[in-house]
């Protein structure tokens, strides 16, 4: 499945790009692919197929997700962001 990943905050800082496309059948696959492509992002925000504490993913601007086994569909959009708001 081809998935668009939109990056915000620290994930964007570490990846150096606001958006990228990756292949993956599950959220965990997508995160693993991101780690390999952007090692600094992987080190700061990801732990293998999972998100580190302090980060969360959102599916298409709708549902916040963290389960690495969530299935991806072709054309899905994943937002990767820092967890806390405030300010």
């Amino acid at each position: 499945m081809r998935v668009t990943v939109e990056l915000f905050g620290i994930p964007r800082q570490r990846a150096g790009v606001p958006e990228t496309e990756v292949e993956g059948s599950t959220l965990g696959d997508v995160l693993l692919e991101l780690s390999q492509r952007f090692p600094a992002l992987g080190e700061a925000c990801l732990s293998g197929r999972c998100l580190k504490s302090g980060y969360i993913a959102n599916l298409g601007g709708d549902q916040f997700v963290a389960d690495p086994d969530i299935r991806m569909r072709d054309g899905d959009s994943i937002l990767l962001l820092s967890l806390d708001a405030g300010g």
């Binding site: 905050g9 620290i10 800082q13 549902q63 937002l79 967890l83 708001a85 405030g86 300010g87």
Partner: protein, 558 residues
């Protein structure tokens, strides 16, 4: 305990909840806390507690740094001010000696000028809390400032101004001691180490302003007085863009290892200004402004004259819509016009022209304008809403509706649930109200210990670790369960104050616009009056109150 909780207790003891907050008899308390002066990161904070002239309800606002550290060393845990000086004055607390000095020569001075002048007069050891001209003129959302940081929300600066007090100066020589210094030092080091971790990285690297792009993407960024949830000009004012185009320095409160403050340069000067998400949203998208320089200059102006940026942006954004609709005779006041924003700030500080209306905040302004403009005044209980659209962040909508201080993101952090897989943020149900309660209780305890909320992500078990902290500092043997009960008592005490001040269940609501219209970019972001009411009922019952929100005690029913 200290901070907000102790402040509310002191105000209840004063027995003036029903008084006009700008009257002579009204009380205002500066309150320190058990943790001030300890090696715990982010603990150098103080609370200012009074009845708010903006909401006519309880108000507690927090600020940080040297004033807290030096104030604690005077040996006082709190300073309660009642009465009124004959002329503009200054309260000097020098250890246990208290005196009142004439401050007529400081009239009209900005916060930074006033603090600079007083440092010359009193010496650098004194730490100062001041009001700007807005406080002197009793603008209902005037702040109290210390070294560029502000007890910002709810208008405590106007309360001080009504007492004709331009400043409080503190100097102390007492030594703060702890029950278990070795254990505390070890705990503090561990907490500091954790505060460098991923949970606070965003605050260090980009600051809170980094919320802007994320909120915009999720269509919950209040734009043009909550008429939209996203803003076309968002990229040009984002911190990601600003850090490329402007000089930026990082700073922190005293005794803080996070360092969330990001100061941006202003064009044509050597000056800088702090920029938080709330300031950015309120003076930017809320007023339709996509010019970074206009926003930064307006933020600087608010800091210097001493007004809350959220209420300033909220009130002016509301006025812009009123002008657009022809409800207000101010054709120059248009969304997107940075010069109009600056002019409106100037006018409200001295109550000139429409500034007389603006200075009272959006609720009072709407009541004077009429024409059902109250339906789109962006406030709850009179406090202007922070940068979270409750239609797309409904747990936060509940938090804003029920909170004692009014629409607020610091006393309720219910948005944490919205930004998680725990709820569907567009369709929150009564089964989830415990998440709003947990957030509110945590905030009540953090504001009373006092610790910065940006630490909340570094605790594994917040209640247990807070009990441990309190034991190490004071020797009190307190359990996590007891601290949870303490937090609930603080929330109840605020409610009790509000009931005595005239609260009624009808106040716990959101503006009609939020309940009648979905977000245009996202029709699924819709919150009906019935659903909000069902959330409020569930919240009240889960709190142990009546369905309508009254305390069960006889006292609370008064």
């Amino acid at each position: 305990m200290g901070g907000s909780g102790l402040g509310v207790a002191l105000l209840l003891a004063e027995g003036t909840a029903a008084a006009n907050p700008l009257s002579e008899e009204a009380a205002l308390a500066f309150v320190f806390s058990p943790l001030v002066g300890s090696p715990l990161t982010t603990s150098a904070k103080f609370a200012v507690v009074s009845k708010s002239p903006l909401t006519q309800r309880i108000n507690d606002s927090l600020a940080s740094s040297g004033f807290a550290l030096e104030g604690k060393k005077t040996g006082f845990d709190a300073i309660v001010l009642v009465g009124q000086a004959r002329r503009l004055s200054l309260v000097v607390i020098d250890d246990q000696q208290v005196r009142i000095e004439d401050a007529s020569d400081l009239a009209g001075m900005s916060n930074s000028s006033c603090q600079s002048e007083l440092r010359k007069r009193l010496g650098k050891k004194f730490q100062l809390a001041t009001i700007g001209p807005a406080g002197e003129n009793q603008v209902h959302f005037a702040t109290i400032s210390h070294n560029g940081r502000h007890a910002g929300r709810g208008g405590s600066g106007a309360v001080l101004g009504a007492k004709r007090l331009k400043a409080i100066a503190v100097r102390g020589s007492q030594v703060v001691t702890w029950y278990n210094p070795t254990g505390l030092t070890s705990f503090a080091k561990q907490l500091s180490d954790k505060s460098f971790g991923p949970a606070t990285a965003k605050y260090r690297e980009l600051g809170t302003a980094t919320n802007l792009l994320m909120f915009n993407r999720l269509n919950v960024l209040p734009t043009r007085n909550f008429q939209q949830g996203s803003f076309a000009g968002v990229n040009s004012i984002s911190p990601e863009e600003l850090k490329i185009t402007r000089d930026r320095v990082r700073s922190s409160c005293a005794a803080c290892t996070i360092g969330c403050e990001h100061l941006y340069s202003l064009k044509g000067t050597d000056d800088t200004v702090r920029l938080e998400y709330e300031t950015l949203f309120a003076l930017g998208p809320m007023c339709g402004i996509d010019d970074a320089e206009s926003i930064l200059q307006a933020a600087k102006k608010c800091d210097e004259v001493g007004i809350d940026t959220i209420s300033a942006g909220g009130t002016i954004g509301f006025a812009m819509e009123c002008a657009e609709r022809g409800f207000l005779d101010a054709p120059w006041l248009r969304f997107g016009d940075g010069q109009a924003l600056a002019r409106a700030i100037d006018m409200l500080v001295c109550s000139q022209g429409i500034g007389r209306l603006l200075a009272k905040g959006s609720r009072q302004m709407a009541l004077e304008i009429g024409r059902n403009s109250i339906d789109f005044a962006p406030q709850v209980k009179g406090l202007e809403m922070p940068g979270y659209d409750p239609r797309g962040l409904q747990m936060m909508g509940l938090g804003m509706a029920v909170n004692s201080r009014g629409a607020d993101h610091n006393r309720s952090g219910a948005y944490e649930a919205d930004f998680s897989s725990a709820v569907d943020r567009r369709n929150v149900g009564p089964e989830s109200v415990h998440l709003a309660i947990e957030s509110e209780d945590k905030a009540a305890l953090m504001d009373s210990l006092i610790l910065c909320k940006f630490l909340r992500g570094v605790f594994v078990d917040f209640w247990q670790e807070s009990a441990e902290i309190l034991h190490l500092v004071t020797g009190l043997d307190v359990t996590a369960t007891e601290l949870r009960e303490t937090a609930k008592r603080i929330v109840n005490a605020k409610k009790r104050f509000n009931i005595r001040a005239g609260w009624s269940p009808a106040e716990d609501r959101l503006p009609t616009r939020m309940l009648a219209q979905s977000l245009p970019e996202d029709p699924r972001s819709s919150l009906s009056p019935d659903r909000l009411q069902s959330l409020i009922r569930a919240y009240n019952l889960a709190r142990g109150w009546t369905e309508d929100g009254w305390l069960l005690s006889r006292e609370g029913q008064v």
